[in-house]
């Protein structure tokens, strides 16, 4: 075996070993790598409910109800399997819409309502001009998020 060949195998094995070790570590700490939990995660996984956490999903259609004071808002977050009611008091981001993704940070109260103190809009991976979005909705070929 030449020295070049030996060095090649050494680098290859080192990279494979390093990759495997990283994969094992990442899969072991997977739960702390997620940025938010879905309502289904909350229902099925053993997640401590008494501390601050982030939840994410789609804002359910026709669920946004604004309070009389103009800043408090209630809506329902859904992952199309389970739902979670959310209350929030503050300014919502521009992209907050019914049918679009949302991430909220806060705590679940005794009544099972998520009291958010921060709300972030989650943008999906679709980019298109407004006219195209309108045309798709008219022709019934809309495949992205439900129409805003």
């Amino acid at each position: 075996m030449t020295r070049k060949r030996r060095r090649l195998y050494f680098v290859l094995f080192a990279m494979i070993g390093l990759g495997a070790a990283t994969a094992l570590v990442l899969s072991a700490i997977e739960d702390s790598l997620v940025f938010f939990y879905t309502p289904t995660d909350l229902a099925e996984k053993d997640i401590p409910k008494d501390r601050r956490l982030r939840i994410g999903g789609l804002v359910a259609e026709n669920s946004v109800k604004r309070g009389a004071d103009g800043v408090s808002v209630k809506f329902i977050v859904t992952d199309l399997t389970n739902t979670l009611p959310v209350t929030y008091k503050g300014i919502l981001p521009d992209l907050f819409r019914e049918g679009q993704g949302v991430v909220a940070e806060g705590k679940i109260d005794a009544g099972g309502v998520f009291r958010a103190d921060a709300v972030l809009a989650k943008h999906d991976e679709n980019y298109m001009p407004a006219e195209v979005a309108d045309a798709l909705k008219k022709s019934g070929q809309w495949k992205g998020a439900p129409a805003p």
Binding site: F35, N126, G144
Partner: protein, 239 residues
Amino acid sequence: MHRFANPNRFLRLTARILPWCALATAAAFIAGLYLALGVSPPDYQQGESVRIMYVHVPAAWMALSVYSFMAAASAVALIWKHPLADFAAKAAAPIGAGFTLIALVTGALWGQPSWGTWWVWDARLTSVLVLFFLYLGYIALVNAFDDPIRGAKAGAVLALVGFVNIPIIKFSVDWWNTLHQPASITRIGAPAIHSSMLTPLVLMALAFAGYFVCVLILRVRNEIAGRKIRALRLVQAQG
């Protein structure tokens, strides 16, 4: 492969390529910026702030590509000891760090109006910040040795170890829940981006790639000249 690893042949070859590369890059930048900032339509959700994407996405692609290039060059340098591979890895690092910084800053500028926050510690954003620190660490390490050959060797090991971060960045949006959206272009099936926005994006990506090639050539030529000066000085000091 040894044919192109010869520094003098590299100097002759790149002297001819460089003007054409610069011309193509300038053309792609002019056309790409014109289409991205002037012609392309506002997005149906984001409005005008979608234009940040035409800088952010190519910069992020280049941040990953340049690091992959550096890791490949480092492997070649470690295994086959080609001197040009060391030069190429060392020359690429500051360019890649610049692309990563552009991606981070433009991402924050887009995140504030769209998400409602400049920064979150989700898997994608954090792993890209780690990539930026890897670039900086590599640059510092390579320059920390008096002997450039030892510095290049230490840097090559760091570049290869840091390469595990690249698939993590790429797939972070698929493996874990993140605030950052998944890929629009490289997903299976049709790209989730309309052609009137895809064309300027592709042009900008070509411009960024062309810019990298041009600056890389300049920096490698500079590095070769620096080594020649160093060798001459060593001879002089001994003589």
